[in-house]
Structure formats: structure tokens, C-alpha cells
């Protein structure tokens, strides 16, 4: 951890005023009962030159990097990024966080990065879904086929999200490219400090993306969007492609307004969970809301929404436990309190984490609310043919 001071400088940690605004909003601080922990305290340990205490702090591995603290910080400390970079140093020393799901998600990431298998990941493209090899648009599927295999049992929409995305793009006359050997984008590896795997995955993806000849990348995963848009160019290699989350892509004039959406008489009342990566990381708040409004959904916002939105409680499949569960329950109660029938999100991970919390038999009734991805909601309301003229 001898490089800690330089990582602190890069991320403006020295500017901390010790004001504690971060601690007031940190979801981990609120629920970590074993030991007091907060972003401010962790920064103080770093500033006072105690790297071992920084590493031992529960927040070091459990921070969700949701950037809620950064929204309020008057000094502009990049706390999430500071931990991301410090975790990479810790991993070099052989330390890491506790992986959930028997580490299977990290394992498949490493297999994709190093073992070089020929994946068989496009079996879901069937029926009326149309893809091509020369489209201007590349749909980056992300780990959806894998999450489908792992989380179908808790009701995760999984690969249905990818099918819905292709259906929406087809509706607009776009037959997107999909990569037969696309790798995990490396988001989780980057944020939990596995720098080596992240770089390997990024290089493999960049090779294929550049060879595709596409000009635009569309994803349905905010983490893929952030990583491809911000982290690949900054950390691994530039690419000329424009990167969009599907909701952003559809918000462009002349594209989304061509969607012919069926208005339904009995649309459910919905509330919206801003995914951290889409909201605070990429600044996309309005695009998904506009789409919901166009669907005629009656939207009721939760108390904490937009920039103040509460994270779904787990990040990078690491350190999932009582604290994560409490955050998820807190958020689901908030969603239920709006009176909405459906919690809409735009990130498959939010959906997985909330559905996991809902699977607790003791809480099933209290937390029972339908959870849907905006992509599948949109796809099932597509009418016949696009609108002739952009409105």
C-alpha cells in the first residue's frame, strides 16, 4: 500500500474537510452495525497514514461505489474511485473481498479473460429476432445469458431483456450486430480491484468491437455502458464508437419518437429505481422517465430519487450479507410505500438483488411488488410498424 498517497492525490482525498455529509447518506454506514464505519472515517485513516486500518475497515470492500457520497461532497472527493484504485493495490497484495454466489461470477469472468473458450452464447437469438453482421449499431449483450442461467430461479428476467432490446431495435428498422464471443465488460473486476482480469477482458472486447465496423454501441446494462464509455478509453484503449444505454439511445431525436407504442387502458402505476451506474455515474435520469411517460405509465417517485436514489445494496457480487439485505429491504419498503404496483429499473443487477430480497419467505408479503426491466416493458407494448414521421 505504499502507493496509497498517490491514489489519494489522484482522487482528491486530501481535500476532505471532515464534514461528514458523506456519512449521513452512505447506505453502508446506516446498516453496518458490527463496527462504526463511514466514508469520512476511512478517509481520515488514510490521511493520517494508517494504510492497514484502511484495509481493515469494513467499508473498504463493502462500499457500493454508488457515488451517493460524491453527490454531496463539498470538496469533490472521488471516494468511490479512491476505493476502486486502492482495492487494486490490495488485490496485488493478495487481499480481496468476500465473493458471493461461490465466486462463480468472478470465475466465469476469469475464464473469459484467460482460458479463451469459444463461447456458445447466442442460442437465445431465435424466432423473429433479426441481427446482422454489418449494422452500424452493435448491441452489447453483457452477461445476460449467464445471469439467466444463474438467477432464473428467483424470477430474474435475464435473457428476456436482451430479446426485448433486439425486438425494440428491429422495430426501429435496426438489425444490430451481436458479438459471438463477446466477453464480460470487466466492470466488476475493475471496481473490486482485479485490474489484470479487467484489462484482459477489455482488450479482447476492444479487438472485436473495433473489428465489427459498427459506429454505435447500445447496451441494456448500465455497468457495461459506463465501462465501455468511460473506462475503456481512459484505462485500456480508445475506440471511436459512441456508447449508449438503450434508454439514452431511444431518447435521441428521430429515434425513440419513431417507436409506435400501444397505449393501454389499464397501465400499472410504477415507480422507478435509478441504477447507480446509469444515474450518478452517467448522469442519465430523464431518458428512462420519458420512456415510461410515453408508455402512459402513471409514475410515482420514491422519496429518494434521481441523484439521491438509494443503491440496490450490492456491488460487484462482493460482500453480500446482512447489510446488503437491509438496504434492499429498506428500498423495497420505500417502493411499496408509493403505492405503485410495479418497480421499474433499467439494470438487471438491481432486479436480481431486489428479487433475491423478496425471496425471503418472511418478507414476501411485505415486500411483494412486481419488478420489471424497462426494456421488457417497452417491448411488450410495441405496436405494428413504426410511426411514419418523427413527431
Amino acid at each position: 500500500m505504499e502507493r496509497l498517497p498517490s491514489v489519494m492525490s489522484q482522487n482528491r482525498v486530501w481535500y476532505c474537510l471532515d464534514c461528514g455529509k458523506c456519512s449521513a447518506v452512505c447506505p453502508i454506514t446506516r446498516w453496518e452495525t458490527r463496527q462504526y464505519t463511514s466514508p469520512r472515517l476511512l478517509v481520515e485513516k488514510a490521511v493520517q497514514g494508517h494504510p492497514d486500518e484502511v484495509l481493515d475497515d469494513p467499508l473498504f470492500w463493502s462500499c457500493l461505489t454508488c457515488k451517493r457520497c460524491s453527490e454531496l461532497c463539498p470538496s469533490g472527493v472521488y471516494f468511490s474511485e479512491f476505493l476502486r484504485d486502492a482495492r487494486a493495490m490490495a488485490q496485488e497484495k493478495g487481499q480481496k473481498g468476500e465473493c458471493s454466489h461461490s465466486e462463480v461470477i468472478q470465475v466465469w469472468g476469469r475464464i473469459m479473460a484467460h482460458a479463451n473458450p469459444a463461447q456458445d452464447r447466442l442460442g437465445w437469438i431465435d424466432g423473429d429476432l433479426r441481427v446482422s453482421h454489418d449494422s452500424d449499431v452493435l448491441y452489447f449483450v453483457g452477461c445476460l445469458p449467464y445471469y439467466d442461467a444463474l438467477f432464473k430461479k428467483i424470477g430474474c428476467e435475464g435473457i428476456e431483456i436482451a430479446r426485448a432490446a433486439i425486438r425494440i431495435l428491429n422495430h426501429l428498422g435496426i438489425e444490430p450486430q451481436v458479438l459471438a464471443d463477446e466477453r464480460c465488460c470487466g466492470h466488476d473486476q475493475l471496481w473490486e480491484g482485479d485490474w489484470e482480469t479487467f484489462q484482459a477482458l477489455a482488450r479482447l472486447n476492444l479487438e472485436q468491437i473495433q473489428a465489427s465496423g459498427a459506429q454505435q454501441i447500445v447496451t441494456t446494462c448500465p455497468e457495461c455502458a459506463r465501462t465501455l464509455k468511460l473506462d475503456y478509453p481512459r484505462l485500456v484503449g480508445g475506440h471511436p464508437l459512441r456508447v449508449f444505454h438503450l434508454t439514452e439511445f431511444l431518447a435521441q431525436p428521430g429515434i425513440g419518437d419513431r417507436l409506435n407504442l400501444k397505449a393501454e387502458d389499464m397501465s400499472p402505476t410504477v415507480t422507478y429505481q435509478d441504477p447507480c451506474r446509469l444515474g450518478r455515474h452517467l448522469g442519465v435520469y430523464d431518458a428512462p422517465r420519458q420512456l415510461m411517460d410515453r408508455l402512459g405509465l402513471h409514475r410515482i417517485e420514491m422519496g429518494r430519487t434521481g441523484k439521491a436514489s438509494l443503491c440496490c445494496g450490492t456491488s460487484c457480487w462482493t460482500q453480500c450479507g446482512q447489510v446488503s439485505k437491509n438496504i434492499q429491504v429498506e428500498r423495497l419498503r420505500e417502493a411499496k410505500a408509493t403505492g405503485a404496483e410495479c418497480l421499474v429499473t433499467a439494470c438487471v443487477k438491481c432486479q436480481i438483488h431486489f428479487k433475491c430480497a423478496q425471496s425471503d419467505p418472511a418478507l414476501r408479503e411485505e415486500l411483494g411488488i412486481d419488478i420489471r426491466d424497462l426494456t421488457t416493458l417497452l417491448a411488450e407494448r410495441l405496436g405494428d410498424g413504426t410511426k411514419a414521421e418523427p413527431s
Binding site: 465466486e103 476469469r110 473469459m112 463461447q119
Partner: protein, 128 residues
């Protein structure tokens, strides 16, 4: 795939491992490329542990447990089937062939069956 390709064999403590011990006692040989790993019950495995064997370079992963209906813990081999189904789906997406991952059983103390099943699994990997 050659005969030296590494194969990980997860054995349950009660039947699979008992078969391995009996094979050793009877001096029944099996290829040196086989890495047996003893677990208390195959039901305690997870898809992460199984895929990790592939990550570390295994060409095949064989799970040897108790005969159907004779699990030492009653439901362990049923649980192992569920884990296998999940691991198979993930391994298939990653590009591993179906014959590279298999669940089978041996009777407790049956060294010959252990050796036969391991050899058959390796032969299957080699497409024989």
C-alpha cells in the same frame, strides 16, 4: 485432448472417496492426470467450485457420489443434480462440451467401479 489432460474428480466422503480408497488398497491404477478431491457431500458443491476447476485448467470434471436414493445425508445427491444442471448451463455458455462435466455414482467400497468410471470419463473426453 490427450491422456495427460488434467481431470478433477470430486468424490463424496461416503461412496466416491470410499471407492477411491478401495481402488488404492487393491492397487487398481488410474491415470496420473486425475486429481481426486474429497468433499463431505457432493450436495455441498456449487457451480463456482466446479467452474473453478475448469478455470485452473481441468479438461474434465467428474463428480462421483452415492448411488441414487442412498445419499448419506438423504438429499445430497439430489442437490448435486441441481448444482450440476446450473454448472452445465454455465459451462455450456462458456464453450465447454457436455461430456466435460458429468455426475456419476459408485457403491461404497467399490474400487473397481471407481476406476472404471474414471477411465470411461477420460475415454469420453477423448471421444472414444
Amino acid at each position: 485432448m490427450n491422456d495427460r489432460a488434467r481431470v478433477v474428480v470430486f468424490t463424496c466422503n461416503w461412496s466416491g472417496y470410499s471407492g477411491l480408497e478401495a481402488a488404492g488398497g487393491a492397487r487398481l491404477g488410474f491415470p496420473a492426470s486425475v486429481f481426486p478431491l474429497r468433499v463431505t457431500c457432493l450436495g455441498r458443491l456449487s457451480s463456482g467450485v466446479i467452474l473453478k476447476a475448469f478455470e485452473k485448467g481441468a479438461a474434465g470434471v467428474l463428480l462421483l457420489g452415492c448411488p441414487p436414493g442412498e445419499c448419506h445425508y438423504q438429499f445430497g445427491n439430489h442437490r448435486a443434480e441441481e448444482v450440476l444442471a446450473e454448472a452445465r448451463q454455465l459451462a455450456g455458455l462458456l464453450g465447454y462440451r457436455r461430456e466435460q462435466l458429468k455426475l456419476d455414482w459408485v457403491d461404497a467400497g467399490d474400487g473397481e467401479a471407481f476406476v472404471t468410471k474414471v477411465r470411461d470419463f477420460i475415454a469420453g473426453l477423448n471421444g472414444k
